[in-house]
């Protein structure tokens, strides 16, 4: 499957090469009404601009509550922004679409479906492919995420890491133009997380699909991204855009490079001030 995908995306890349902007987010704002009447409305995003180049893997990092998940929800079409426009490959985005797929924070698998049927879920809902074609693509996607042999297991029978693999396969199998990942490894133990990061990095190289990856883990953001976008505390704005220069495929050793450490340190400083304030106040008490 991987090769076919690369060819397909290669074409996408060529056709989109002229503008070199694949996803464009312009002036995105999101204000939530207060749940209590009379309460202050909460502005989570305030006029956010963001672009993603064709095939680019962009990681978004920011303190919790900065609106990064809201940004992803808006691009996915699961939330309607208060203001702003979004374009994918020149077409304005309104609501969910077949050109995007989300890898959710929790695996969110349907517990009554086996691994294979969970991966097939998106394809089944589209009603575009015949059963045999779905089965074929599902088989390849399951192999791609390393779950061969677990097709007929139910979600409760597999580990959290494996569930996230299913979550990933479910999104990749529909061959979206843009993959949206919402802290998919956040709830995993450190070892499993590293393993999945490695595999995703390898996958990102072979598939080269435009990806927005939200995380609050600075190392993860730098390790996975072609570019790291840092967001401020709510209302979230972009406070830094850092190109990550390392060649792919990246191995774990990238983390030992001085440049890697510099980027991580810069990002940490950038994101820290608010926490430092909190520390200072607690000390005064």
């Amino acid at each position: 499957m991987a090769r076919v995908v690369v060819e397909k995306l290669g074409q996408v890349r060529q056709s989109a090469a002229a503008p070199a902007v694949f996803l464009a987010v312009e002036g995105l704002s999101m204000t939530f009404e207060s749940p209590r009447s009379g309460g202050d409305p909460l502005t989570v995003l305030d006029g956010l601009d963001l672009t993603v180049a064709p095939g680019e893997f962009v990681t978004i990092i920011g303190p919790s509550g900065c609106g990064k998940t809201t940004l992803l929800d808006c691009v996915a079409g699961l939330s309607t922004p208060t203001a702003g426009r979004m374009y994918l490959d020149g077409i304005e985005l309104r609501g969910p679409g077949p050109d995007r797929a989300v890898v959710f924070q929790q695996a969110s698998l349907l517990p009554w479906r086996t691994v294979a049927r969970n991966v097939a879920y998106g394809l089944e809902l589209r009603r575009e492919l015949r059963r045999s074609e779905i089965a074929e693509r599902v088989g390849k996607a399951i192999e791609l995420v390393g779950l061969k042999g677990f097709e007929h297991h139910y979600p409760h029978q597999i580990s959290g890491g494996m569930q996230q693999r299913v979550n990933l396969a479910r999104a990749l199998v529909v061959e979206p133009k843009l993959v949206l990942m919402d802290e998919p490894f956040g709830a995993l133990d450190a070892l499993t997380r590293e393993m999945l990061q490695d595999e995703l990095a390898a996958l990102a190289r072979s598939v080269q699909r435009a990806t927005l990856f939200v995380t609050h883990d600075i190392e993860e953001a730098v390790f996975l991204g072609d570019r790291v976008v840092a967001m401020s505390r709510a209302p979230g704005r972009i406070i830094a855009n850092i190109e990550v220069p390392f060649e792919r495929p990246r191995s774990r050793d990238v983390g030992d490079l001085p440049e890697f450490k510099t980027i991580v340190r810069d990002l940490r400083r950038l994101l820290r001030p608010a926490t430092a304030d909190v520390d200072a106040t607690t000390k005064e008490d």
Partner: protein, 277 residues
């Protein structure tokens, strides 16, 4: 400071001064459990039989396991037993199926359409809480005392747990599952069929379980009050002529039916346990 205050009223006592029995769980093997259960039944029936023979129980109004056996033989000889069982079975099957069918549809609709739920929820709650048997005289006025009226009563008694459980199950749809479905462009119908309904299944099964028991109760009530038919009628008539043994035959049949149906439902339930962790 606060810890001191908490103990101020009591005399300080060393933890190990007195021997303390720390909580433990009792684990039984399957075979032991079955043996104990059987023993319980045998002992109770034996004690009953003994107290009847010893004259501790009235020979006129009381009965005993052996007297129930005698009663059963008499009923079979008079060709009363099997026709009664068949009549009750029919009533139960029709009533129970209607309960499940109506409950599923109504519960689904009320769980799925929030506005309809808002309108009808007070009525469901009210009718569920009300002593619906109070309606029997009205049922007689409206439907008569035939089989139709009996079915109406079974449904009246048994349908509500089915409605309420199905409704709750559909409404309890997992929000994250809904988001997944939406992200893959699911229509309302897709969400209902692939998310809401499968998710509601455990609720629906628990509704069926409650409805099963209540339908059986409904059958007895309907047979007592309307036409004295079936096994319920048998119990009623036997009781009136002090044929206690025969009355107990009917009671035993209902107990047996309830156990049998619960076991059957357990087997059905097992099929859905595959995906429940």
């Amino acid at each position: 400071m606060s810890a001191q205050r908490a103990f101020a009223g009591r005399k300080p006592r060393a933890l190990l001064q007195r021997k303390r029995r720390v909580a433990e769980t009792t684990v039984l093997r399957g075979r032991t459990r079955v043996a104990l259960g059987v023993a319980g039944v045998v002992v109770v029936l034996g004690a009953w039989e003994a107290s009847y023979r010893l004259g501790l129980v009235s020979r006129v109004t009381g009965s005993s396991p052996s007297q129930i056996g005698v009663g059963a033989r008499v009923l079979v000889q008079h060709h009363l037993l099997f026709s009664a069982i068949w009549s009750s079975t029919k009533l139960f099957l029709i009533g129970f199926s209607l309960c499940v069918g109506i409950g599923l549809v109504v519960g689904l609709v009320l769980g799925w359409y929030r506005r309809l739920h808002a309108v009808f929820d007070p009525w469901v709650t009210m009718l569920y809480a009300a002593p619906r048997l109070a309606l029997i005289p009205l049922v007689v006025v409206w439907v008569g005392i035939g089989v139709e009226a009996q079915v109406v009563i079974v449904v009246l008694v048994g349908v509500f747990p089915m409605i309420i459980n199905t409704m709750a199950g559909v409404m309890a749809m997992d929000r994250t599952h809904f988001r997944v479905a939406r992200s893959y462009l699911a229509t309302n119908r897709d969400v209902l069929l692939t998310v809401a309904l499968p998710g509601a299944l455990p609720f629906i099964i628990s509704g069926i379980r409650q409805t099963l028991v209540l339908s059986l109760t409904g059958v007895v009530v309907a047979e007592y009050f309307l036409g004295e038919t079936g096994v319920g009628g048998l119990i009623f008539k036997s009781g009136q002529v002090l044929e206690t043994g025969q009355a107990f035959v009917g009671v035993a049949i209902f107990c047996f039916a309830a156990v049998l149906l619960t076991i059957a439902l357990g087997l059905v339930e097992k099929r859905f346990d595959k995906w429940r962790g």
